[in-house]
């Protein structure tokens, strides 16, 4: 058995933080993605512009830079807003909040394209028959469109989640106590860099394999309405 010098427990705690960060960013990203796709497909021009600027900017920026901008930028912006109200104490947003914001924004930008493609691939007849059955906009979206969009978008979203999972490592740069940061701490006290980074890599691999399993289960479940041809 390999000797982790008692850091095994710390690394597992880090893994929990990594998973929390990934899931929280996923929720934010899915909401942003749906909103972005809706904006891109809407007939209101300014909404289209905003969505296009959002996806172009975020997809062109390195994820590390996004994390840094949010982490350091948000502090400055929040402090200047607070300054307007006469509050001049130091405000700092946490690494976790900055991470969720940055990774959620990134996931959302890519998910916008996935959702847009899925929404566009729903045949017009589906919309028309929902209206013919007397469904309102909400019911039509919730009962007819969304389940089909979900099925078509799932493979793309699954890939994006795997990317997101790996991007969570970047938030360790601003001090979040995730797998990566715990490994850094272990390395600085034991000097066994190769061992701990390899263990960290294996932990990410395990998380990747588990996520792939969950995604393929969800895909199977989303397809259950279709008969096998």
């Amino acid at each position: 058995m390999i000797d982790l010098h008692g850091f095994g427990h710390q690394l597992l705690q880090g893994a929990l933080v990594t998973v929390e960060l990934a899931l929280a960013s996923l929720v934010v990203g899915l909401v942003l993605g749906l909103l972005g796709a809706a904006a891109k497909l809407s007939s209101i021009k300014p909404l289209q512009w905003i969505a296009n600027i959002y996806t172009t900017l975020i997809r062109g920026l390195p994820e590390l830079l996004t994390v840094l901008i949010i982490y350091f930028g948000a502090t400055t912006v929040l402090m200047s807003i607070a300054g307007l109200f006469g509050y001049d104490e130091y405000i700092e947003i946490g690494a976790f909040a900055a991470g969720v914001t940055a990774l959620g924004l990134t996931f959302g930008a890519y998910a916008t394209e996935v959702f847009r493609g899925a929404l566009q691939s729903i045949p017009k007849g589906q919309h028309e028959s929902a209206v013919a059955l007397g469904m309102g906009t909400f019911h039509k979206f919730y009962r007819i469109i969304l389940p089909q969009v979900w099925r078509i978008a799932l493979p793309g979203l699954g890939n994006l989640f795997l990317v997101l999972l790996k991007d969570t490592a970047l938030v360790s740069v601003v001090g979040l106590e995730d797998i990566m940061r715990k490994a850094n701490i272990a390395v600085s006290s034991t000097k066994e860099a190769f061992l701990f980074y390899l263990v960290a890599a294996i932990m990410y691999l395990v998380l990747t394999i588990v996520s792939m399993g969950v995604v393929s289960y969800l895909e199977k479940r989303a397809r259950r309405g279709l008969t096998r041809g």
Binding site: P62, I69, V114, S172, A183, T208
Partner: protein, 236 residues
């Protein structure tokens, strides 16, 4: 906000940009060279030839690039064998460690792209070459490789842009690339928003240039498709 710091430190940012470009170019070229044999081994019918590249690709695509960089930069120097070897002058340099990590990483992704392209050529084209009596070399040179090249281009362009964004991680091992330079300037001037936004703008500009170049090459490569643009429906 005071954007005069951006003007003042712009030459430094350009220096960083040049380091970033070097990192991306070197790793893309080396990664591409490594990727071809990996891709060919990956589609081998022999199980034990196929399984090694599979594990390689799975490892490098399944773990964060940051872990890979740290494994090379901090991990390798832990072993005395490495420190006493002739390669130590190279492995001591953060720049070359970044190149090694990026090359390994991008070669895994590129190998998958190559594999997809090779497998995407319809068997009918191979058969057609045989029918008109081409030799194997002629077949590869005239039909298969240009075809695979055309198929590979869009995905390869994306990979280069991903590499450009990944190159920002070089700043975590003390390299003064564009991000590293930005962080150094910020440590002196305390103007994170202005400098980071300027760095972001430079990254955007570089990716736009890459996209434009690839659009031109793609147009040239797929010119046999005629001037009629074919609308490919979104797969979603």
């Amino acid at each position: 906000m005071d954007f005069s710091v951006v003007v003042e430190y712009f030459p430094r940012l350009l220096e960083g940009t040049w380091v970033s470009i070097q990192l991306v170019l070197l790793s893309i070229v080396l990664g591409g060279l490594f990727a071809l044999p990996i891709a060919l081994a990956r589609i081998s019918p022999v199980l034990w030839i196929r399984s090694l590249p599979f594990a390689y690709i799975f490892f490098f695509r399944g773990t964060p690039l940051l872990v890979q960089i740290f494994l090379v930069y901090y991990g390798a120097s832990q072993f005395d064998v490495v420190r006493e070897s002739v390669l130590w002058p190279i492995l001591r340099e953060p720049f070359w460690c970044a190149i090694i990590a990026f090359t390994l990483n991008t070669s895994a992704y590129t190998a998958e792209i190559f594999r997809g392209a090779i497998q995407a050529i319809p068997p009918g084209e191979v058969e057609a070459c045989k029918v008109v009596g081409m030799s194997k070399t002629q077949m590869y040179r005239r039909v298969l490789l240009p075809r695979a090249f055309g198929i590979v281009l869009p995905a390869y362009g994306n990979e280069i842009i991903l590499m450009l964004k990944g190159s920002a991680l070089a700043s975590t091992i003390t390299i003064l690339d564009l991000t590293g330079m930005a962080r150094t300037i910020i440590a002196r001037t305390y103007t994170p928003i202005e400098i980071f936004l300027a760095a972001g703008a430079i990254y955007l500009l570089i990716s736009m240039v890459i996209i434009a170049i690839f659009r031109q090459v793609e147009k040239h490569q797929n010119r046999y498709l005629g001037s009629v643009s074919i609308k490919v429906p979104d797969k979603g």
